[in-house]
Protein backbone atom coordinates (compact mmCIF):
# COMPACT_ATOMS: atom_id res chain seq x y z
CA UNK A 1 0.00 0.00 0.00
CA UNK A 2 1.17 3.48 -0.81
CA UNK A 3 0.38 6.38 1.46
CA UNK A 4 -0.40 9.79 0.13
CA UNK A 5 -1.71 12.71 2.09
CA UNK A 6 -4.09 15.25 0.71
CA UNK A 7 -3.68 18.50 2.58
CA UNK A 8 -4.63 21.10 -0.02
CA UNK A 9 -1.28 22.79 -0.78
CA UNK A 10 0.69 19.57 -0.78
CA UNK A 11 -1.84 17.87 -3.04
CA UNK A 12 -1.85 20.83 -5.42
CA UNK A 13 1.92 20.67 -5.70
CA UNK A 14 1.75 16.94 -6.35
CA UNK A 15 -0.77 17.49 -9.13
CA UNK A 16 1.47 20.23 -10.52
CA UNK A 17 4.50 17.90 -10.45
CA UNK A 18 2.57 15.08 -12.13
CA UNK A 19 1.41 17.29 -14.99
CA UNK A 20 4.87 18.81 -15.37
CA UNK A 21 6.32 15.28 -15.56
CA UNK A 22 3.88 14.40 -18.33
CA UNK A 23 4.77 17.57 -20.24
CA UNK A 24 8.48 16.73 -20.01
CA UNK A 25 7.70 13.19 -21.12
CA UNK A 26 5.85 14.54 -24.20
CA UNK A 27 8.68 16.99 -24.94
CA UNK A 28 11.13 14.12 -24.64
CA UNK A 29 9.60 12.35 -27.66
CA UNK A 30 10.00 15.51 -29.74
CA UNK A 31 13.61 16.11 -28.68
CA UNK A 32 14.43 12.43 -29.21
CA UNK A 33 13.09 12.69 -32.79
CA UNK A 34 15.34 15.75 -33.29
CA UNK A 35 18.33 13.73 -32.07
CA UNK A 36 17.48 10.82 -34.34
CA UNK A 37 17.08 13.27 -37.23
CA UNK A 38 20.84 13.83 -37.13
CA UNK A 39 21.20 10.16 -37.98
CA UNK A 40 18.21 9.97 -40.33
CA UNK A 41 19.07 13.13 -42.26
CA UNK A 42 22.42 11.58 -43.18
CA UNK A 43 20.49 8.58 -44.47
CA UNK A 44 18.11 10.85 -46.38
CA UNK A 45 20.98 12.10 -48.59
CA UNK A 46 21.80 8.49 -49.41
CA UNK A 47 18.10 7.81 -49.94
CA UNK A 48 17.73 10.70 -52.44
CA UNK A 49 20.64 9.37 -54.53
CA UNK A 50 19.39 5.80 -54.27
CA UNK A 51 15.92 6.88 -55.40
CA UNK A 52 17.43 8.82 -58.31
CA UNK A 53 19.50 5.86 -59.49
CA UNK A 54 16.58 3.42 -59.13
CA UNK A 55 14.49 5.77 -61.26
CA UNK A 56 17.16 5.78 -64.00
CA UNK A 57 17.29 1.98 -63.99
CA UNK A 58 13.51 1.58 -63.98
CA UNK A 59 13.02 4.02 -66.88
CA UNK A 60 16.01 2.48 -68.74
CA UNK A 61 17.57 5.93 -69.04
CA UNK A 62 14.48 7.52 -70.68
CA UNK A 63 14.22 9.79 -67.63
CA UNK A 64 16.98 11.91 -69.22
CA UNK A 65 14.77 12.48 -72.23
CA UNK A 66 11.74 13.31 -70.09
CA UNK A 67 13.67 15.53 -67.67
CA UNK A 68 16.72 16.96 -69.48
CA UNK A 69 18.24 18.54 -66.33
CA UNK A 70 17.60 15.38 -64.27
CA UNK A 71 21.08 15.20 -62.74
CA UNK A 72 21.19 18.84 -61.70
CA UNK A 73 17.74 18.44 -60.10
CA UNK A 74 18.89 15.33 -58.30
CA UNK A 75 22.03 16.99 -57.00
CA UNK A 76 20.09 20.11 -55.87
CA UNK A 77 17.67 17.82 -54.00
CA UNK A 78 20.59 16.11 -52.32
CA UNK A 79 22.08 19.55 -51.53
CA UNK A 80 18.89 20.55 -49.72
CA UNK A 81 18.91 17.34 -47.68
CA UNK A 82 22.60 17.74 -46.92
CA UNK A 83 21.91 21.29 -45.67
CA UNK A 84 19.23 19.89 -43.38
CA UNK A 85 21.64 17.16 -42.24
CA UNK A 86 24.27 19.83 -41.51
CA UNK A 87 21.77 21.77 -39.39
CA UNK A 88 21.08 18.65 -37.30
CA UNK A 89 24.80 17.82 -37.01
CA UNK A 90 25.67 21.35 -35.89
CA UNK A 91 22.97 21.43 -33.22
CA UNK A 92 23.26 17.79 -32.18
CA UNK A 93 24.58 18.52 -28.69
CA UNK A 94 21.79 21.04 -28.03
CA UNK A 95 19.13 18.50 -29.01
CA UNK A 96 20.71 15.66 -27.08
CA UNK A 97 21.13 17.74 -23.92
CA UNK A 98 17.51 18.92 -24.17
CA UNK A 99 16.47 15.29 -24.53
CA UNK A 100 18.49 14.25 -21.48
CA UNK A 101 17.11 17.12 -19.37
CA UNK A 102 13.52 16.23 -20.34
CA UNK A 103 14.11 12.51 -19.65
CA UNK A 104 15.66 13.10 -16.22
CA UNK A 105 13.01 15.68 -15.23
CA UNK A 106 10.16 13.41 -16.28
CA UNK A 107 11.62 10.40 -14.44
CA UNK A 108 12.08 12.39 -11.23
CA UNK A 109 8.67 14.09 -11.33
CA UNK A 110 6.72 10.97 -12.29
CA UNK A 111 8.54 8.77 -9.79
CA UNK A 112 7.57 11.24 -7.04
CA UNK A 113 3.89 10.73 -7.82
CA UNK A 114 2.75 8.12 -5.31
CA UNK A 115 -0.89 8.24 -6.34
CA UNK A 116 -0.54 6.88 -9.88
CA UNK A 117 2.05 4.65 -11.44
CA UNK A 118 3.61 5.95 -14.66
CA UNK A 119 5.58 2.85 -15.59
CA UNK A 120 5.22 3.36 -19.35
CA UNK A 121 6.45 6.94 -19.34
CA UNK A 122 9.32 6.17 -16.92
CA UNK A 123 10.47 3.22 -19.08
CA UNK A 124 10.28 5.43 -22.19
CA UNK A 125 12.36 8.14 -20.50
CA UNK A 126 14.96 5.60 -19.35
CA UNK A 127 15.10 4.20 -22.88
CA UNK A 128 15.58 7.72 -24.25
CA UNK A 129 18.57 8.24 -21.94
CA UNK A 130 20.15 5.03 -23.25
CA UNK A 131 19.52 6.09 -26.89
CA UNK A 132 21.00 9.53 -26.16
CA UNK A 133 24.14 8.00 -24.68
CA UNK A 134 24.53 5.70 -27.71
CA UNK A 135 24.05 8.68 -30.07
CA UNK A 136 26.60 10.77 -28.15
CA UNK A 137 29.13 7.93 -28.42
CA UNK A 138 28.44 7.55 -32.17
CA UNK A 139 28.69 11.32 -32.68
CA UNK A 140 31.81 11.75 -30.55
CA UNK A 141 33.61 8.95 -32.37
CA UNK A 142 32.72 10.57 -35.69
CA UNK A 143 30.31 7.85 -36.71
CA UNK A 144 27.75 10.30 -38.04
CA UNK A 145 30.15 12.36 -40.16
Amino acid sequence: MQAHTTPTKNAELKTFGRRMGKIFSNLLIFTLILCLCALLSFLSVVFVWLFGIVLIILTVGTIFAMVPDYFSRLSSASNVTSNIAEFFFDNFYIFVSLCLVCAIASIVLLALDKQNKHTGRIVLSSLAIVICIILIIIYATGGLQ
Binding site: H4, E12, R19, N26, L27
Partner: protein
Protein backbone atom coordinates in the same frame (compact mmCIF):
# COMPACT_ATOMS: atom_id res chain seq x y z
CA UNK B 1 -12.08 5.59 20.77
CA UNK B 2 -14.09 4.66 17.68
CA UNK B 3 -12.38 3.55 14.52
CA UNK B 4 -13.65 4.16 11.03
CA UNK B 5 -12.42 2.40 7.90
CA UNK B 6 -13.58 4.01 4.68
CA UNK B 7 -13.01 2.43 1.26
CA UNK B 8 -13.45 4.17 -2.08
CA UNK B 9 -13.97 1.65 -4.86
CA UNK B 10 -14.52 1.75 -8.62
CA UNK B 11 -13.12 5.22 -9.13
CA UNK B 12 -12.09 6.30 -12.61
CA UNK B 13 -8.25 6.40 -12.86
CA UNK B 14 -8.31 10.06 -13.89
CA UNK B 15 -10.16 11.08 -10.75
CA UNK B 16 -8.27 12.33 -7.72
CA UNK B 17 -10.62 12.03 -4.76
CA UNK B 18 -10.72 14.22 -1.68
CA UNK B 19 -12.24 12.93 1.54
CA UNK B 20 -13.10 15.37 4.30
CA UNK B 21 -14.18 14.12 7.69
CA UNK B 22 -15.82 16.76 9.85
CA UNK B 23 -14.52 19.37 7.39
CA UNK B 24 -10.87 18.30 7.47
CA UNK B 25 -8.84 16.78 4.63
CA UNK B 26 -7.99 13.19 5.47
CA UNK B 27 -4.92 11.23 4.34
CA UNK B 28 -5.83 8.65 1.71
CA UNK B 29 -4.11 5.33 1.25
CA UNK B 30 -4.10 3.84 -2.22
CA UNK B 31 -4.30 0.06 -2.37
CA UNK B 32 -2.92 -2.23 -5.07
CA UNK B 33 -6.31 -2.51 -6.79
CA UNK B 34 -6.55 1.22 -7.45
CA UNK B 35 -8.99 1.87 -4.62
CA UNK B 36 -8.46 4.23 -1.70
CA UNK B 37 -8.71 3.74 2.04
CA UNK B 38 -9.08 6.06 4.97
CA UNK B 39 -8.47 5.00 8.55
CA UNK B 40 -9.85 7.44 11.04
CA UNK B 41 -10.23 7.42 14.80
CA UNK B 42 -12.48 9.66 16.82
CA UNK B 43 -14.25 10.12 20.14
CA UNK B 44 -17.29 11.63 18.40
CA UNK B 45 -20.60 9.83 18.22
CA UNK B 46 -21.23 11.18 14.73
CA UNK B 47 -19.09 12.15 11.78
CA UNK B 48 -19.77 13.98 8.57
CA UNK B 49 -17.98 12.61 5.49
CA UNK B 50 -17.64 14.74 2.40
CA UNK B 51 -16.33 13.33 -0.88
CA UNK B 52 -15.29 15.45 -3.83
CA UNK B 53 -12.95 15.45 -6.79
CA UNK B 54 -9.73 17.45 -6.97
CA UNK B 55 -9.29 19.52 -10.11
CA UNK B 56 -6.04 21.21 -11.12
CA UNK B 57 -8.04 24.14 -12.41
CA UNK B 58 -9.55 24.67 -8.97
CA UNK B 59 -6.19 25.20 -7.27
CA UNK B 60 -5.54 28.59 -5.68
CA UNK B 61 -2.67 29.41 -8.03
CA UNK B 62 -4.23 27.75 -11.07
CA UNK B 63 -3.43 30.72 -13.33
CA UNK B 64 0.26 30.60 -12.35
CA UNK B 65 0.38 26.84 -12.96
CA UNK B 66 -1.28 27.32 -16.34
CA UNK B 67 1.25 29.99 -17.38
CA UNK B 68 4.16 27.72 -16.39
CA UNK B 69 2.61 24.70 -18.15
CA UNK B 70 1.92 26.81 -21.23
CA UNK B 71 5.49 28.10 -21.48
CA UNK B 72 7.23 24.80 -20.70
CA UNK B 73 5.05 22.83 -23.10
CA UNK B 74 5.95 25.26 -25.94
CA UNK B 75 2.71 27.21 -26.23
CA UNK B 76 0.68 24.28 -24.93
CA UNK B 77 1.60 21.99 -27.84
CA UNK B 78 3.06 19.26 -25.65
CA UNK B 79 0.55 19.58 -22.86
CA UNK B 80 -1.60 16.57 -21.86
CA UNK B 81 -5.27 17.10 -22.71
CA UNK B 82 -7.65 17.90 -19.88
CA UNK B 83 -10.67 15.73 -19.17
CA UNK B 84 -13.32 17.30 -21.41
CA UNK B 85 -16.37 16.71 -19.26
CA UNK B 86 -15.17 18.25 -15.95
CA UNK B 87 -17.48 16.07 -13.92
CA UNK B 88 -17.29 16.69 -10.21
CA UNK B 89 -18.35 14.38 -7.36
CA UNK B 90 -20.60 15.70 -4.65
CA UNK B 91 -21.08 13.29 -1.79
CA UNK B 92 -22.00 14.18 1.76
CA UNK B 93 -23.05 11.77 4.50
CA UNK B 94 -23.59 11.80 8.23
CA UNK B 95 -22.81 8.57 10.10
CA UNK B 96 -23.69 7.51 13.64
CA UNK B 97 -20.70 5.52 14.77
CA UNK B 98 -20.38 2.14 16.48
CA UNK B 99 -17.11 0.93 18.00
CA UNK B 100 -15.72 -0.38 14.68
CA UNK B 101 -17.11 1.02 11.49
CA UNK B 102 -16.58 -0.12 7.92
CA UNK B 103 -17.89 2.06 5.15
CA UNK B 104 -17.61 1.31 1.44
CA UNK B 105 -18.22 3.96 -1.20
CA UNK B 106 -18.71 2.32 -4.57
CA UNK B 107 -18.60 4.80 -7.45
CA UNK B 108 -20.85 4.61 -10.48
CA UNK B 109 -19.33 5.30 -13.93
CA UNK B 110 -18.74 9.04 -14.51
CA UNK B 111 -21.82 10.77 -15.90
CA UNK B 112 -22.90 14.38 -16.37
CA UNK B 113 -25.59 13.88 -13.78
CA UNK B 114 -27.09 11.19 -11.62
CA UNK B 115 -26.23 9.24 -8.54
CA UNK B 116 -22.47 9.06 -7.95
CA UNK B 117 -22.09 6.63 -5.06
CA UNK B 118 -23.55 3.35 -3.86
CA UNK B 119 -22.94 2.95 -0.17
CA UNK B 120 -22.31 -0.17 1.91
CA UNK B 121 -22.26 0.34 5.64
CA UNK B 122 -23.63 -1.10 8.88
CA UNK B 123 -23.77 2.33 10.48
CA UNK B 124 -26.84 4.41 10.81
CA UNK B 125 -26.48 7.09 8.17
CA UNK B 126 -28.04 10.10 6.61
CA UNK B 127 -27.37 10.87 2.96
CA UNK B 128 -27.15 14.63 2.52
CA UNK B 129 -25.82 14.77 -1.05
CA UNK B 130 -24.91 12.18 -3.64
CA UNK B 131 -24.54 13.15 -7.27
CA UNK B 132 -22.29 13.77 -10.24
CA UNK B 133 -22.33 17.32 -11.49
CA UNK B 134 -20.48 19.22 -14.18
CA UNK B 135 -18.17 21.64 -12.40
CA UNK B 136 -18.98 25.00 -13.97
CA UNK B 137 -15.99 26.77 -12.41
CA UNK B 138 -13.56 24.26 -13.92
CA UNK B 139 -15.34 24.35 -17.27
CA UNK B 140 -15.24 28.17 -17.38
CA UNK B 141 -11.53 28.24 -16.48
CA UNK B 142 -10.82 25.62 -19.12
CA UNK B 143 -12.62 27.73 -21.74
CA UNK B 144 -10.74 30.87 -20.63
CA UNK B 145 -7.46 28.99 -20.88
CA UNK B 146 -8.33 27.68 -24.35
CA UNK B 147 -9.29 31.16 -25.61
CA UNK B 148 -6.04 32.67 -24.27
CA UNK B 149 -4.09 29.78 -25.82
CA UNK B 150 -5.64 30.39 -29.26
CA UNK B 151 -5.13 34.19 -29.00
CA UNK B 152 -1.44 33.71 -28.16
CA UNK B 153 -1.06 31.28 -31.08
CA UNK B 154 -2.54 33.87 -33.45
CA UNK B 155 -0.31 36.60 -31.98
CA UNK B 156 2.79 34.41 -32.37
CA UNK B 157 1.83 33.51 -35.96
CA UNK B 158 1.35 37.21 -36.81
CA UNK B 159 4.69 38.14 -35.20
CA UNK B 160 6.54 35.34 -37.01
CA UNK B 161 4.92 36.38 -40.29
CA UNK B 162 5.91 40.01 -39.67
CA UNK B 163 9.55 39.18 -38.90
CA UNK B 164 9.83 36.86 -41.91
CA UNK B 165 8.38 39.50 -44.23
CA UNK B 166 10.85 42.16 -42.99
Amino acid sequence: MKSVNIKLLGLNASVTPVVKINGEDTPLIKNQFGGYEVNYQTEDEEIEVEISRRFELKAKLWWLFMIIFYIVSILGIFEPIYDKKSIGIIGKYRFKLNENNKIKFRFNPLAKQGKAIELESQCELLELENRYQVDKKVKTRKTVYLIIKILVWIAVAVLVGYFISR
